[in-house]
């Protein structure tokens, strides 16, 4: 079995003279949540459509679960679930009937349909409205129904386009929780979003898109250390001890120390150095008042990256 479930190399899409996706290459490993992130118009949806064989490829190669989406679209679509950006359902049918239609298209055996649909609706907590017409559903409910369809389909890979788009923060958090549970069920997930911070916590790895190219790719920590010079930040507040800044700076893994205020230190580091920092403070004879740990924000990484690289010079970082 191949380690990667999605492999794209030199993937390109042109509309006339404009290149919308420009020679991008990435791999998605089995079981991970891969985030395709970037502003609107960066080419995320186009990339996803090419993965599914729903849009022609101008150049490059893609393999999804070792199948070619262009030549073997049915094999790919049988094993991959897709939640389109602002998904729609047949408004005059009930939630369950909508899923029944899809189940018949997929070819799920008659005896199994009812059971799988019920289980899927229960997983996304729509079992109470299974017989209600979708016309009455909110945006969040439709989104969850789309996820139920993927769960019912029992896929190996789920591709979710802007899954939290248009959801309020609460619904957004709940939906990401559902996505996590899908991952723990063994599904590989590729999700796209233009809201970097909202999804950064669920993604194992991310690819930051900009104008059809992948500007940066890797784990959030990797990107942080690459762009900000330190992946993590540890905040230390202590009553002044001798040479505290120097001692903190000497901890292995710390790349720099800032002292924004008296007795307030900010360590930029490659890993979580809280235990060592606490030990140093105590060893220096100072009293530790606060110790905090910050993931770098993707938004910051993204903005900082494009401040440092002039447009057009964006290079593949990973």
């Amino acid at each position: 079995m191949n380690k990667y479930v999605i492999e794209a190399s030199g993937l390109t899409k042109r509309y006339g003279t404009s290149t919308v996706v420009d020679h991008i290459s990435f791999d998605v490993a089995s079981g991970e949540i891969f985030g395709v992130l970037g502003p609107n118009g960066a080419g995320k949806t186009t990339t996803i459509l090419m993965l599914l064989g729903l849009c022609d490829i101008s150049e490059g190669k893609v393999r999804v679960l070792d199948h070619d989406p262009v030549r073997e679209p049915l094999a790919v679509k049988r094993r991959v679930g897709y939640l389109p950006d602002s998904v729609g359902f047949y408004d005059h049918l009930s939630a369950a009937d909508n899923l029944h239609y899809t189940a018949r298209l997929i070819g799920i055996a008659l005896g199994e349909r009812e059971k799988r649909i019920e289980a899927a609706l229960a997983r996304v907590r729509l079992e109470d409205v299974a017989d209600k017409r979708v016309a009455t559903f909110s945006r969040g409910m439709r989104q969850r129904l789309g996820l139920a369809e993927i769960i019912m389909k029992d896929v190996q890979v789920a591709i979710l386009d802007e899954p939290t788009n248009g959801l309020d923060p609460q619904a957004s958090v709940e939906f990401l929780e559902l996505i996590r549970s899908l991952k723990s069920a063994g599904v590989t997930i590729l999700l796209s979003s233009h809201l970097l911070d909202r999804v950064q916590n669920v993604c194992d790895r991310v690819a930051l898109f900009n104008a059809g190219k992948i500007a940066l790719m890797g784990t959030v920590a990797e990107l942080g250390s690459q762009v900000l010079g330190g992946g993590f930040a540890v905040e230390v507040e202590a009553e002044q001890g001798p040479h505290l800044a120097l001692r903190l700076g000497a901890i292995p893994g710390v790349r720099g120390v800032e002292e924004p205020a008296e007795g307030h230190f900010r360590l930029l580091c490659d890993r979580d150095v809280r235990p060592e920092a606490a030990a140093e403070v105590v060893a220096a004879g100072a009293r530790l008042k606060r110790l905090a740990f910050d993931q770098p924000s993707l938004e910051t990484i993204y903005t900082r990256y494009f401040q440092s690289v002039k447009p057009g010079e964006a290079r593949h970082a990973a």
């Binding site: 729903l54 030549r71 073997e72 679209p73 049915l74 679930g81 939640l83 729609g88």
Partner: protein, 312 residues
């Protein structure tokens, strides 16, 4: 490049779903009532007329379809008008509706080809139209039986049956046209308007325009050529083809659909009915034309749909 798997995978599922949508939709019910009421009015008028005038007509039953009584047009004229309306009503939002409800990309991400979706929608539309037309046809025959009190002959039934099939083919043309525009235009309102406009043009304006166009482009001194040319142009309209086919089928004394040549009249008794086979033969090019038009329009829609972006 060979595609893997059958292009018709899922076809039956799509047909059943679309059919059930059509049969339960309010739109379809309104259209059906419109057709049934107007058509029955026409047949009723025809029956009273036929009872008064022709006592001994071997094709009394066929007269039900073709006889008009002022101010109502005949049953076939009604059908020629209303069948396109029904077909357009079923097809104008077939594909753009899926786009606008954002269901298209979700459905096409299931393991089926686009072929199955489009063809399934067409078959379901045609099946819906067939069901309505067959019901209507049975209603007319039943009404005739009751009110005329004589059973139709075997040949009459055969002619009426072929007429039914031709009407379904005629409906297919407009359905395919409406579906083509439902692919081309993203807005259902635009698609409906353009299809209805084209229908009005082809049905009402084009046949009237054809002689003028023939005169403009053909030598004026050859009368026969002018007439033939005008007729050929008029036949570009499915309505003309349908009208001519109906004429040949339901009026057995029709000997030719083109200009009458003396050679065709030799040995012919004026007004004597032709056997069924020969009537069909006369209208054969028109029948083939209707079926071919359906296929061409469907294929055009198919090609457009295959090249279309799925994203909303």
């Amino acid at each position: 490049m060979r595609r893997e798997g059958s292009p018709w995978r899922g076809l039956g599922v799509v047909v059943l779903k679309e059919l059930s949508d059509h049969l339960t939709s309010a739109r379809m019910r309104v259209l059906e009532w419109l057709v049934v009421l107007t058509a029955l009015a026409a047949v009723y008028a025809a029956i009273t007329q036929v009872r008064n005038v022709t006592a001994e007509d071997p094709f009394l039953f066929l007269r039900l379809f073709t006889t008009s009584r002022d101010p109502l047009p005949s049953f076939v004229s009604f059908l020629g008008f209303l069948v396109p309306l029904m077909a357009i009503g079923l097809g104008f939002d077939a594909v753009n509706g899926e786009h606008n409800h954002r269901t298209l990309s979700r459905i096409l991400s299931q393991p089926i080809y686009r072929d199955a979706l489009l063809f399934g929608k067409f078959l379901a539309g045609l099946a819906t139209l067939s069901i309505s037309l067959i019901a209507l046809w049975l209603l007319v025959i039943g009404l005739g039986l009751i009110m005329l009190g004589v059973p139709p002959g075997g040949e009459e039934m055969a002619r009426a049956m072929i007429f039914l099939l031709v009407t379904i083919a005629y409906a297919g043309v407009w359905l395919a046209l409406a579906m083509l525009f439902s692919v081309v235009f993203r807005s259902p309102a635009t698609a409906a308007l353009v299809t209805l406009g084209l229908w009005l043009f082809l049905t009402v304006i084009w046949p009237a325009l054809a002689p003028g166009i023939a005169e403009a482009f053909l030598p004026a001194d050859n009368q026969a050529l002018l007439v033939t040319g005008a007729q050929m142009l008029a036949r570009l309209s499915p309505s003309t083809l349908f009208g001519e086919t109906v004429l040949a089928l339901l009026d057995p004394s029709t000997r030719t659909l083109g200009p009458v040549y003396l050679s065709q009249l030799q040995g012919a008794v004026m007004g004597a009915p032709l056997p069924l086979g020969e009537s069909v033969l006369i209208a054969w090019p028109q029948i083939v034309g209707l079926v071919a038009a359906t296929i061409i329009l469907f294929v055009a829609g198919y090609v457009a749909f295959q090249r279309q972006e799925v994203r909303a």
